[in-house]
Amino acid sequence: MLQALANGLMLGGLYACIAVGFSLVWGVLNIINMMHGSLIIFAGYVTYFIWYGTKLSPIVLLLPVIIALFIFGYLLQYLVINRVVKRPVLTTLTLTFGLDMILYNFMNSFFEATPRRISLNWGSFTIADIVLPIDRLVAMALAFILTFVLYLLLRTSKVGRAIVAVRMDRDAASLMGIQIPQIYAITFGLGAAMAGACGVLFAVAFPVTTNISGLLLGKAFVICVIGGLGSVPGALIGGLALGLIESFGSHWFGPQNAITIGFILMLILLMVRPTGLLGVKGYE
């Protein structure tokens, strides 16, 4: 039981990190970024290969990967997605799905689908029969720290306040002199950067392979619906909730059903409370 709780919390930290960027993009741009899962895997693979080649610690690589993916996301939004951002969800979702397929195909042919994991051999320690692998603990801690940094960024910085303003009311924000396309691009860049950070942490804690990009995307969906859109605390609560649900779900119903439980819970929540546990009305 306690082991399941500990596993759930460790998973939950990573899940929060997965979802926070996705939720930000969805909440602010009103776009479902189907590329999110592939971006995570992409960052994971790149980190793995740099680590494999140079033996640099992945923690050192965290910052460069974040910056690289921020630039990638910024340019993608600024040059491509911004042109259709106001069109209906069918268009934007299909577009990001199409972009995802290009990235996915690229990864499959360049990196191959072999599962890769950065094995740091940091060992683990045991408290009261609970096994805690240190690499996963570090990944969880970093995930929480990064999520908190994003929260601070949105709360205190000028750009962050502008992003929140655009989320609340695009037209009013525009009248206040905020450059909407610029903010959109920054937001998408932040989303991609969080995906990148998550990819690095993920490669430390679990094996990465292209096959799980869809799975990660599915988790981001579930977390957003549980926690509500566009807010960092929502993603955090949703992530922790999903981590615990999956962990206890696989404890009681077997690991093969853990994911199904998450999805079914999400469908029920969609019917009962589509704004999420912490969500605000108006993002339907």
Binding site: L90, T91, L95, N105, I264, L270
Partner: protein, 313 residues
């Protein structure tokens, strides 16, 4: 309108004549075109007319194919199995629609994708009933490949014709008018006395039933189904892309989209297996930026004038 019917009949007759003028490869291609036309026409009810971005197509195909395969393996004859599979699918869609049509836009899209995933996961883990991840074998039809090929081509063509006739009816009826009103403004449609809930559920069920039939026929045709193929997230994307390619909310658009898409798929990117998905992705990006209204909405006079203008300059 009459142009659409003429165009449809032209495609339909060409496909139906395939066994008499070409070899088995083209018969197979024609079957695929008929199948995707039926799927695209189905999606058009909910996505094109009603404006709800449904990505549940693969859920209905998968459900129909599993229902059909299991019934057929239980000894029920081919056509009866297909009919029952369609009935099961429509009942499922009605309940599902009742549940997830309360939410709009993004939430609806995500919910409908989740349904595909849930069904796939359940099918994979329920091995005693569905064969699990190993898939399910269906009895191959007797009478040789030529005969079977024809049977399945005409079966798919029947579904395509039914879907088209339903589209014609929906397009001209009060029901279709209501759906278009919902697309433009759901609250206003509700206000003028359209029973929005019933209309949406009806459109959703209509969009499911032919998918179920198609899935069942597909299962019998291929003779083997597995969760990953039956509930494929790729199919669920391909079908809306076909409709967008042809022109959403139109009568002939879905058929045209399916036709162009399948021919493109066969002729171009079957030769680039490595980059298969990337090319589909590129087509999607091209479609969204350069053909936002689909092929039917291209203004040929403007296009011609432009080309002439370029030549003149």
């Amino acid at each position: 309108m009459n142009k659409s019917i003429t165009a449809f009949l032209l495609v339909f007759i060409t496909l139906a004549a395939m066994p008499f003028i070409a070899d088995n490869y083209f018969v197979k291609l024609a079957t695929f075109i008929a199948m995707y036309s039926a799927l695209a026409l189905s999606w058009n009810f909910i996505g094109g007319f009603t404006g709800y971005p449904s990505f549940a197509t693969a859920a209905f195909i998968g459900l129909g194919s599993y229902a059909g395969a299991i019934l057929q393996n239980a000894g029920i004859n081919l056509v009866t199995a297909w009919v029952f599979a369609s009935i099961i699918t429509i009942i499922f869609a009605a309940f599902l629609g009742f549940a997830i049509l309360r939410v709009k836009g993004h939430y609806f899209a995500v919910g409908s994708i989740a349904v595909v995933e849930v069904l796939r996961l359940i099918t994979s883990s329920w091995s005693s009933f569905t064969g699990g991840g190993d898939g399910l074998n269906v009895k191959i039809m007797e009478g040789g490949p030529d005969f079977a090929g024809r049977v399945f081509l005409y079966a798919m063509l029947c579904v395509m014709l039914l879907a088209f006739l339903t589209t014609l009816w929906v397009d001209r009826s009060k029901f279709g008018f209501g759906l278009k009103a919902i697309k433009q403004n759901e609250d206003a449609a509700d206000m003028v006395g359209i029973n929005v809930t019933i209309y949406k559920i009806a459109a959703f069920s209509l969009s499911a039933v032919f998918c179920g039939t198609t899935g069942a026929i597909y299962a019998s045709w291929i003779g083997y189904i597995a969760p990953v193929d039956a509930f494929s997230i790729l199919t669920t994307l391909k079908v809306p892309v076909m409709v967008l390619l042809g022109g959403e909310g139109t009568v002939f658009g879905p058929v045209l989209g399916a036709l162009v898409f399948v021919i493109l798929e066969e002729s171009v990117w079957a030769h680039f297996l490595e980059a298969n998905q990337a090319i589909l992705g590129l087509i999607i990006v091209f479609l969204i930026f350069f053909l936002p209204g689909g092929i039917l909405k291209i203004d040929y006079r403007k296009l011609l004038a432009k080309i002439r203008g370029v030549k003149g300059a």
